[in-house]
Symmetry: C2
Subunit: 388 residues, 2 copies
């Protein structure tokens, strides 16, 4: 194990990607596929200070295209951390009080081992030789990091969307190591429609001739057009129809009338183009394939004889589930299904459905009710656990 | 005007594409863009017999990727007509009683003038030199065909999805020529989310290097991969989440467990691939661009000072609006909005929302309540109009 380590630059070669740990051959990551990954790297960021009895650590799990820069500027984009409204001094996840650990998932492209990283055995980027991974594999790797940091139990595991799936998986895989968990805007399984949208995105990437069967590294190309199309399609699912209508409607882009051309006429088209273009500047196309696949494979009940409650039988973890009323990617009903399963497992669970028209991405937005819920839940667990 | 005419073969050179009319230089089609199309062709199919006083003609308008083969086998695919359950002897649109005219829209690729057709001025396919078109342009062209056939008034104009938009546009543009109209599963405008999905599809097509800026004809290529991705994304919007879950769920494709590869694991993936592949065999990519754009431009209220009711002020046409409860592409609320506008215009309108989980494509499926509604509505109008 050595630290710090080689980190592949995506767009900003000198960017500080924070901390990282390399796990050597003595600590291979055993994967659900039956393969193993060794050596492998976990890149992470921490915020706040670990207290003396190591009881105040919160693990933050990112969504599909997130990274470890939850509460500090992203070194690639220069933009604020993706949850900077949530995490920081005095914020709902208060770094004056808690030690926050945020990792880049295995398969990602911000320093943790993934398809864009160099395979130490060959000296070349992995590309498609990187093994397929699952949400459980991501969580296994995080657990090894937590071990490395000398933390026995996490005060909380918190995440939205795919991050919420990791929080559920943590509670299922390591019940004794998770005092509380907050899965937000997620599901315990990927639905047929969810899988369908991901497959459209993957096909868009793989249809791009610049993809080169995943071996585009070093060719001076990347499947930008395909990845942009994938992102555009996915982005629609992150918003709600009413919010799109309210925000853009049929408003035209700098025009009195339509152009009768195929260039963007409507503001919603330009907005989508922008989402596609900025995404390809910061994200690796193969990582997109790997991580979407991991999410598609996620079905927590299937790992427990098809009964979701069995994933949590006997758990001592305290849960707080948050959903958003206009989320059609992981609808309220799917979140409620998790709460029901936890009830069936006699777990301690609270469930909050927040009314908003802003869709799935609400978990990344300024949602006062979410902030109040997170703050209140952490306070109550802290009181019970005697964390100051 | 001459008849029959040259028809571009897409995949089956000897396919019988039915009837067609060429409108010569004396009958240019004036377009909303300010351009005009001349000469131009309308391909169509008829079923049944026009009665002596020419009072029993029903115009069928097809959806985005439909064609004139509504009630007879498609010459390209060999499959039954797309509304063969609806139209025929003794069927809800009874060809023993009515004379059914089904046209391929302008911009289409089944014989009517479109980007894949040869421009008579250059001897080359139009490609992107074909003018952009609107739903109103499609309807103008249809009206010229109806003139050509010597029909003064249509007993009914009926269509689903984009076909429903044409039915609405007919009633708005030619109120005295439309005795009744049945817009099914449609909207009076394309929403921001609708436009967004179409733009994803267009970007997928235009990102494909085999698109060649629309000039792929004669190169032995077509942007099949991009068009397949477009179709896959669109197809998800034609179904409902519950129906996808019921039909496919997380069922695996011929496997005991997932493959840990990027080949299709889930049945829903294989199903989508099949939808994409069969579509590119029968449809022209540029036509897809043109027709999606026409639909995006559709906003009937905008043509009438922003007040939808004004599109129908003083109308004598009798309307029957049908929506499907699980249609999230053109939801019940959008269809109801049309019914309300018609009420506000003091029009004669009935509105039926059919409960089903099968989503937008319900209008193409075996939906007994839809069949009964169509049959009943046509019967009542026929009684009133004295059509036997």
């Amino acid at each position: 194990m050595s630290d710090p380590v080689f980190l592949r630059p995506l767009a900003a070669p000198d960017a500080d990607k924070g901390q990282a740990v390399v796990f050597g051959p003595d600590q291979a990551l055993l994967l659900d596929s039956g393969r193993s990954l060794t050596p492998f790297t976990i890149a992470y960021k921490t915020y706040g200070t670990l207290n003396a009895n190591r009881s105040n650590a919160i693990l933050i799990c990112h969504a599909l295209t997130g990274d470890q820069f939850a509460a500090s500027p992203n070194p690639i984009t220069g933009k604020p951390g993706w949850w900077q409204t949530m995490i920081g001094p005095g914020k709902p996840i208060d770094t004056d009080r808690f030690f926050v650990i945020s990792t880049n998932v295995i398969g990602g492209c911000m320093g943790s081992s993934g398809p864009a990283e160099v395979n130490p055995e060959t000296g070349e980027p992995y590309g498609l030789s990187f093994p397929l991974i699952t949400i459980r594999d991501m969580v296994r790797a995080q657990a090894m990091l937590i071990d490395h940091l000398g933390i026995e139990r996490l005060f909380s595991v918190i995440g939205g969307s795919m991050g919420g799936m990791q929080a559920l998986q943590w509670a299922a895989s390591f019940p004794d190591r998770v005092i509380s968990a907050m899965p937000i805007a997620c599901a315990a399984r990927h639905s047929a429609q969810n899988i369908a949208f991901h497959e459209v995105g993957r096909q868009a990437v793989m249809a791009d001739p610049d993809w080169h069967g995943g071996a585009y590294y070093g060719r001076g190309t990347q499947p930008s057009k395909g990845l942009a199309v994938a992102r555009m399609a996915a982005h629609i699912t992150y918003l709600s129809e009413p919010a799109l209508q309210r925000k853009f409607g049929r408003n035209l882009q700098n025009k009195e009338s339509v152009s009768f051309l195929f260039t963007p006429d409507f503001q919603v088209e330009s907005y989508l183009h922008h989402q596609g273009m900025t995404f390809v500047d910061r994200f690796d196309a193969n990582s997109y394939l790997y991580i979407t696949r991991a999410v598609d494979y996620f079905d927590l009940a299937a790992d427990h004889g098809g009964v979701l409650a069995e994933a949590f039988r006997g758990t001592k973890t305290r849960f707080c589930i948050i959903s958003f009323s206009s989320d059609w990617l992981y609808p309220t009903a799917e979140n409620k299904r998790i709460a029901h399963a936890l009830n069936a497992a006699a777990a301690n669970v609270s469930f909050v459905d927040i009314r908003t028209d802003r869709g799935h991405d609400s978990f990344l937005l300024d949602e006062p009710e979410m902030f109040a819920t997170v703050r209140g839940f952490l306070n109550s667990v802290a009181t019970r656990e005697g964390v100051k």
